[in-house]
C-alpha cells in the first residue's frame, strides 16, 4: 500500500526581489526516490530547505512523515536526514569522531553512538578510513561520510541536495551506488540535481522545476515519452538518396519527415513504431536503396528537459 511521505502544496517563497518558489507542489510516496530536476536558480535548494524545516515559507502547506513542517518542526526533524549542497562534516575530526558526534547530537548515549558509527562506517565502505580526517578524503568518500551522518537514525526521508555536484565520475558512481542501496532498503529519498543522467538513473519519479514552478512530474520513462512519439530514423549511405528516403518516411509516418543534411539522415515521429519500421524497411528494399542505418530512436531525457524548460541546462556544477 502506497502512503505519501512528503506532501507539499502551493509552496511560495520570496526573497526580497526574487520569487524563489511560485506555487510549487510536490508529493513523494514512501519508499520511492523523487528527483527535483531543474537548472540553477530553479528553486531546488529552497524546496529542500523548506521541507527540512530550515526555511520559513510565505504560502502553502507542507508535511513530511505525517507532520506539518511549520507547526511540528521538531517531529519532522526526528524523522529526516539531510545532506546539504556542501558537505557538512567537520574536517578536523576523524571520520569516526564525526559520526560519534552526530550520533550524540541525535541523542544517542556514548556507547550507542560509537556502535552506530562503526556500523555506518562499514555500511558506507569507510571502515578503513575511520581514523582519518575527511580533509584527506576523495570527494566521493567525503560525500559518503556526509550521507552516513544523515543516516544515524535511519530516517524515514532522506533529503539530498545535489549529492554529486563537483564530484569526479568515480565519485559520482560511488554516491549513486550508495543512494541506490539506501533506496533499495526502503528509505524514501528526495534528491535535487541538474544532471539528467543522474535523475534518469536514480529516480522513480522526476519533478521538473523551473522559476519556482512545476513544469512536469512523471517517471523518467514517462518524461521521455511525453517528448512525443519515438522517431523513425533512416541514415542514407549516399546523400543523393535523401529525397527518396524522405518520401518513404513521409509515407509511413503520415508526414512530418525532417532531413538533417549534416548527418545525412531523415526522421519523423511515428505513432506505431514497429509497424512503421517494418513498412519503411520493406519500402527501402523494394526501391533497392542503400542505407547506412535504419531504426527507432527514443528521445533522451536531455531532449525532454530542453523541450520542457525551453533553454539549455547548465552542464557544469557551478552554483
Amino acid at each position: 500500500m502506497a502512503t505519501t511521505t512528503v506532501e507539499a502544496e502551493n509552496l511560495g517563497k520570496r526573497f526580497k526581489d526574487t520569487t524563489a518558489l511560485d506555487g510549487f507542489d510536490v508529493s513523494v510516496e514512501s519508499g520511492t526516490v523523487l528527483g527535483l530536476l531543474g537548472p540553477n536558480g530553479a528553486g531546488k535548494t529552497t524546496t529542500v530547505r523548506i521541507l527540512t524545516t530550515l526555511l520559513r515559507f510565505d504560502t502553502g502547506r507542507a508535511a513530511v512523515a505525517g507532520f506539518d513542517v511549520a507547526r511540528d518542526a521538531r517531529q519532522v526533524r526526528r524523522r529526516i536526514g539531510l545532506t546539504g549542497q556542501q558537505t557538512a562534516v567537520d574536517d578536523l575530526l576523524s571520520a569516526r569522531q564525526n559520526l560519534v558526534l552526530f550520533g550524540k547530537l541525535f541523542r544517542l548515549n556514548k556507547a550507542d553512538a560509537i556502535k552506530r558509527a562503526d556500523q555506518l562506517l562499514d555500511q558506507f565502505g569507510l571502515a578503513d578510513a575511520a581514523d582519518k580526517q575527511p580533509k584527506k578524503f576523495s570527494g566521493g568518500m567525503k560525500r559518503r561520510l556526509d550521507l552516513a551522518a544523515s543516516m544515524i537514525l535511519a530516517p524515514q526521508v532522506l533529503f539530498l541536495d545535489e549529492p554529486t555536484t563537483g564530484l569526479d565520475p568515480a565519485g559520482r558512481r560511488e554516491v549513486w551506488e550508495t543512494v541506490s542501496g539506501l533506496a533499495a532498503d526502503g528509505t524514501t529519498v528526495v534528491l535535487t540535481t541538474h544532471y539528467l543522467d543522474e535523475a534518469d538513473r536514480l529516480c522513480d519519479r522526476i519533478s521538473v522545476i523551473d522559476h519556482g514552478r512545476n513544469i512536469a512530474e512523471d517517471t523518467p520513462m514517462g518524461l521521455k515519452r511525453r517528448m512525443g512519439a519515438d522517431r523513425l530514423e533512416i541514415v542514407a549511405a549516399d546523400p543523393v538518396d535523401l529525397p527518396a528516403l524522405r518520401s518513404i518516411v513521409d509515407a509511413v509516418a503520415g508526414g512530418g519527415a525532417k532531413v538533417d543534411e549534416t548527418s545525412g539522415s531523415v526522421s519523423a515521429p511515428v505513432r506505431n513504431p514497429v509497424e512503421a519500421l517494418t513498412a519503411a524497411a520493406n519500402a527501402v528494399q523494394d526501391k533497392k536503396l542503400d542505407v547506412a542505418d535504419i531504426g527507432l530512436r527514443r528521445p533522451t531525457l536531455d531532449e525532454a528537459f530542453l523541450e520542457l524548460i525551453g533553454e539549455p541546462t547548465e552542464k557544469e556544477g557551478d552554483q
Binding site: 524523522r79 555500511q123 535511519a154
Partner: protein, 279 residues
C-alpha cells in the same frame, strides 16, 4: 542492513533540559578536539599580542611617560595588563571566524535540521571560547612574568583581575557570534579585523589616553577595553593612567558594567540573527 537505533521517545521538560546539556557537552567536546588538533591556533592567537607588546615595550615604550615620573619608567608594568585586555578584546574575532566557518560549511544547517537543541551551536561555542581564552591568559601570564612583569596585588585581587578579563571576553563572544552569523563567509569576517583593530588600540591598552589628542583620548577613556585594562592595573597594583575622567576613577565598576551592557545588546542580536537564518 543492520538495524539503526530508534528515536528517543518524546521528552518531558526535565529530560529536555538534560538532553540540551548533553548537546552542549557534545559541541564543547568537538571544540576540544579542534584545540587538540590545532595547537598552532594558540600560537596564532597569542603571536599578535606578543609581537605588539614587544614592539611597545622595546620600541615605543622607552619614549612614553606613563607615570609622570619620566619617559620609559615602569612601562612594562603598565603595558602587560594592557596586553591581557587587548588579547581578550581581539578574541571575539576568533569566535566570529569559527561561527562564519560553521555556517559557510553547512554545519549550522545540518545541526538546525536535527532534533537537537539548536542553541548548542552558539552556547557550546561560547563555553569552548571562554575555556580557550583562559588558556590564552595562562600562557600570556607566564610570558609576562618572564619579561619581568609581576602582580603586586593579593592573590584574591590577582584572581579577580583575571576574572574581569574573562568577563570582557565572555561578553565580546556575543559580538563575535552576531558578526559570524551576519557575514556571508569567513573572508568577510576577516575583513572586519580592520574595524576591530582601532577598537582594541584606541584605548588605554598601550598608551595613556592623556597622551592622545583630546577627542581620541575621550574615546579611549570610554572604551570598554580601557575600563578592563585600568581595573586590572588597579588590582594588579600596576601603574595607572593619570587621568581623572569618570571611567578612570571608577574603573572597577566600569569593567563590570561594560560587559553587561555589551551582552545585553549583542546576545539578543545574535539570537535574533540565529532565528532569522530561517527567513
Amino acid at each position: 542492513m543492520t538495524t539503526a537505533p530508534t528515536l528517543t521517545p518524546e521528552e518531558s521538560i526535565g529530560s529536555r533540559i538534560r538532553w540540551t546539556l548533553h548537546d552542549y557537552r557534545a559541541i564543547v567536546g568537538q571544540e576540544f578536539v579542534h584545540m587538540y588538533r590545532q595547537p598552532a591556533n594558540f600560537l596564532w592567537a597569542l603571536g599578535f599580542p606578543i609581537v605588539m607588546v614587544l614592539l611597545f615595550v622595546y620600541v615605543f615604550g622607552s619614549a612614553m611617560d606613563v607615570t609622570g615620573q619620566g619617559a620609559g619608567v615602569d612601562y612594562v608594568a603598565f603595558a602587560m595588563p594592557g596586553m591581557f585586555a587587548m588579547t581578550m578584546a581581539f578574541g571575539f574575532m576568533n569566535t566570529a571566524f569559527a561561527v562564519a566557518d560553521a555556517k559557510e560549511k553547512g554545519f549550522v544547517d545540518r545541526v538546525r535540521s536535527m532534533p537537537m537543541a539548536s542553541s548548542a551551536v552558539v552556547v557550546g561555542r561560547n563555553i569552548a571560547d571562554t575555556i580557550h581564552a583562559a588558556v590564552d591568559l595562562l600562557v600570556l601570564f607566564i610570558i609576562a612574568v618572564l619579561i619581568g612583569w609581576s602582580s603586586e596585588g593579593t592573590v584574591l585581587e590577582t584572581v579577580g583581575a583575571f576574572a574581569l578579563l574573562l568577563w570582557l571576553r565572555f561578553a565580546l563572544i556575543w559580538v563575535g557570534v552576531w558578526i559570524g552569523l551576519l557575514v556571508k563567509n569567513v573572508e568577510q569576517a576577516g575583513n572586519l579585523f580592520a574595524l576591530a583593530f582601532p577598537f582594541g588600540m584606541v584605548s588605554s591598552v598601550f598608551t595613556p589616553p592623556e597622551l592622545m589628542p583630546d577627542w581620541l583620548g575621550t574615546i579611549a577613556v570610554w572604551n570598554p577595553v580601557s575600563a578592563t585594562a585600568t581595573a586590572i592595573r588597579e588590582l594588579f597594583g600596576n601603574p595607572l593612567p593619570i587621568g581623572d575622567a569618570w571611567p578612570e576613577q571608577h574603573a572597577l565598576l566600569a569593567a563590570i558594567v561594560w560587559p553587561v551592557v555589551i551582552t545585553a545588546i549583542f546576545l539578543p542580536l545574535g539570537v535574533r540573527r540565529f532565528r532569522n537564518l530561517g527567513r
